[in-house]
Point group: C2
Chain length 436, copies 2
């Protein structure tokens, strides 16, 4: 095969065969196809797209490019969960222990935050001693003993995706639905769970700006799952405002613990309970959604859910006391309350801008590999639809210094839009895409 | 500026500004933008195209990336001529001395052949001692003393184009009209003639397969010329069959000499006389096409035209006696006449296939830098529209050995299509594109 022929074929709108895609990914992973040819191919894919079969072939080829964990050979069913990234998104932190507490194993590899969106590994690492970097044996051992493991992304997992993603990032070829879908799903297939619940965010704070784009991405990933034998369901949720109230690593950990105790903010708590229930039904562990909801409620009330989070933290060398006593989690030295500038109803909170502003407090990364400060961030005191009187508390800023706290006031206030008339609150769960 | 922003901008269908294009080409030439970003950008250009202003900016940026010869500062007017490459195309060999013999200077840099299309430098180098590689001082000196110079392409001329072309060649981004136009015109602008006659070939043997494509390419180049201050006219000519009768380097040199003596095949001779006349009119050296045609005829009849070819050959260290006595040009040791396989009218001769078959005799290059044999090739004994009786001579094969000659018989015969009914001969000159 000749790579320039495959570039031309895609450029001219034809589909590539399974052997062609396998060959391309194998050769690229082995550095036998140079970046300048792969980037031209990626731009041609950006332009022409890929059909379901091609996308699934690409995903499988990338999944097989490195180590495969075969989680479902360790325990079955075993669920995985993925979110496309948002602001204040602590859903994985709550859903994973909740599901495990209900008797369904969870084996998950999870990423770090970049730009305005956070990463589950960063939030977990706000717990003293927590180790996200696990060997294959540790991953297997913790999953079989505790029925839950929350590991950082291994570099050996789907290395073709890692290499391709870094190239796409600098060649304007990120925003392609088949390439995004293949990138996400290749890592899921390499972990090898039996069931996967995807959480596709849509809105100003998310990567997918419209419901139509989100549905296309969700549909593509569900189809890849079907073709590759991984039972996949995708929930599409709104990211028009931050999820819950906390934005920042330790602050989100605190909120996740509250959710597991039944004391979290209503929007994100309901979403977490719904997702956990969905996973119990998907795996056949509950016969109906109402039966699943009852079991989720019991796990919350009995304390089993929060205990499961403490258990996995301990299994991964973290200090479980910080889960039992969240006040022991690292806290920022300066807390400043931002007041409401005018009376009225909050009609919008720009999630992406809130995320970008939190980065300036050290809560997020501008570049890969940067250190972050787990302590900083925001706690929103009101959400879209709430009425506030001028002077009421609006946002609690958690900062390293008074000057850093002061420096974000303006841009934080700019995230809010106000209305004199009452505002209706849009639903959080917009759609669920299931295999055809 | 950030290259990834420029890639995204083009990818999303926007136009790039003049400073953006200048910056991109400057940085790429200095190796400060890597190939993998430039290839993604080139694929985005392939997809989205470039408008006239962008294309002219790209051309100028590439023209200024290296040495510039400013030919029109040496002598003015000075004409340049370019052909997009064909099979049996010896037009430049004849037109350049013809125009110079009529008193208009010609300063030309010319390329080598690759694949099925020949190159003027290779044809000139069939003359003993001829030097195509000239220093800047030699180029200038020969042009001002002899009013004609036919140099090989210098590596210092438009190096951005050389680098970009090599990258496009391996990334499926060759067949883009603005990129082809900018590539050709950047080298013309770097030479710096005052007038340019382009010869765009269309048909099965050419790069442009349809008249529509050829018109688009011709129009783009004429517009670049207008925007960059180089008076450009483009003739679109048919390449549905080889041009003239000779295909092969020394054989085409012999035919060019015959054209300059008024003894060449009718199709290619008429085309050369027409092009020369067009150049005399373009430069204002003749007031009308009929006046120009009379002067061209006189240059042929008087022997001035062929003498001018001998003069430039001598000025570039070649053996001028081989022009005065073409039988002294290198000749292949084996000549075999291929006979007509059936009686009938020739309805087609596939030019590209004839070119490819001649490569197997050593007349062309499969890869850049390969040695060629100047002696080998074909002399067609009949053209489209001619009637042949079975057994009549069809093609004279000039080969290094009997076995090589025999090895091409089949594929040569396969280039011909026959008809029992008379066939009309399509015109050679299909259209002429002039500045708006």
């Amino acid at each position: 095969m000749e790579i320039v022929e495959l570039i031309r074929k895609k450029r001219d709108g034809y589909t590539l065969s399974t052997p062609e895609i396998d060959w391309l990914i194998q050769q690229y992973t082995r550095d036998e196809i140079p970046d300048y040819q792969t980037s031209a191919w990626a731009m041609a894919v950006f332009w022409r797209g890929m059909d379901a079969r091609e996308t699934s072939d690409l995903t499988l080829a990338m999944a097989r490019s490195g180590e495969e964990l075969h989680a479902r050979d360790i325990i079955s069913p075993v669920v995985d969960k993925h979110s496309t990234g948002g602001v204040g998104d602590k859903v994985t932190l709550a859903v994973a222990p909740l599901v495990a507490a209900c008797g369904v194993a969870v084996g998950k590899m999870t990423g770090r935050g970049l730009g305005h969106t956070g990463g589950t590994v960063d939030k977990l690492e706000s717990v003293r001693g927590f180790r996200s970097s696990l060997t294959r044996e540790e991953f297997t051992g913790i999953l079989s003993s505790h029925h839950i493991v929350l590991a950082g992304q291994s570099h050996d997992l789907a290395p073709a995706d890692g290499k391709m993603y870094a190239l796409r990032d600098v060649t304007g070829t990120i925003e392609s639905i088949p390439l995004i879908a293949a990138s996400i799903m290749s890592k899921k297939l390499a972990v090898g769970a039996s069931h996967l619940l995807l959480h596709v965010k849509v809105g100003s704070g998310a990567f997918m700006k419209t419901l139509e784009q989100a549905r296309a991405l969700a549909g593509t990933m569900v189809t890849i799952g079907r073709l590759a034998g991984l039972h996949t369901v995708a929930a599409i949720t709104s990211m028009e405002q931050p999820l819950g109230c906390a934005v920042g690593n330790a602050l989100e950990m605190v909120e996740a613990i509250a959710i597991l105790r039944g004391e979290g903010p209503q929007d994100v708590s309901e979403l977490c309970y719904h997702e956990a229930s969905e996973l119990l039904v998907m795996t056949g562990s509950a016969r109906s959604l109402s039966e699943a909801e009852t079991r989720v409620e019991q796990a919350i009330r009995s304390g089993a859910a929060v205990a499961k989070l403490a258990e996995v933290i301990a299994a991964q060398s973290g200090d479980a006391r910080q889960i039992e006593h969240p006040e022991l989690l690292p806290a920022a030295p300066v807390r400043v309350m931002l007041s409401t500038p005018r009376s009225g109803y909050i009609s919008a909170i720009e999630a992406e801008q809130v995320g970008r502003t939190s980065m300036r407090l050290g809560a997020g990364r501008f570049k890969k590999g940067e250190q972050i400060d787990h302590r900083t961030g925001f706690v929103l005191q009101a959400k879209v639809g709430d009425y506030r009187t001028a002077g009421d508390p609006l946002v609690e800023i958690h900062a390293r210094s008074q000057s850093e706290a002061d420096s974000v006031r303006e841009s934080l206030l700019a995230c809010y839009t106000w209305s004199d008339a009452p505002v209706s609150v849009p639903p959080l769960l917009l759609d669920t895409i299931r295999p055809a």
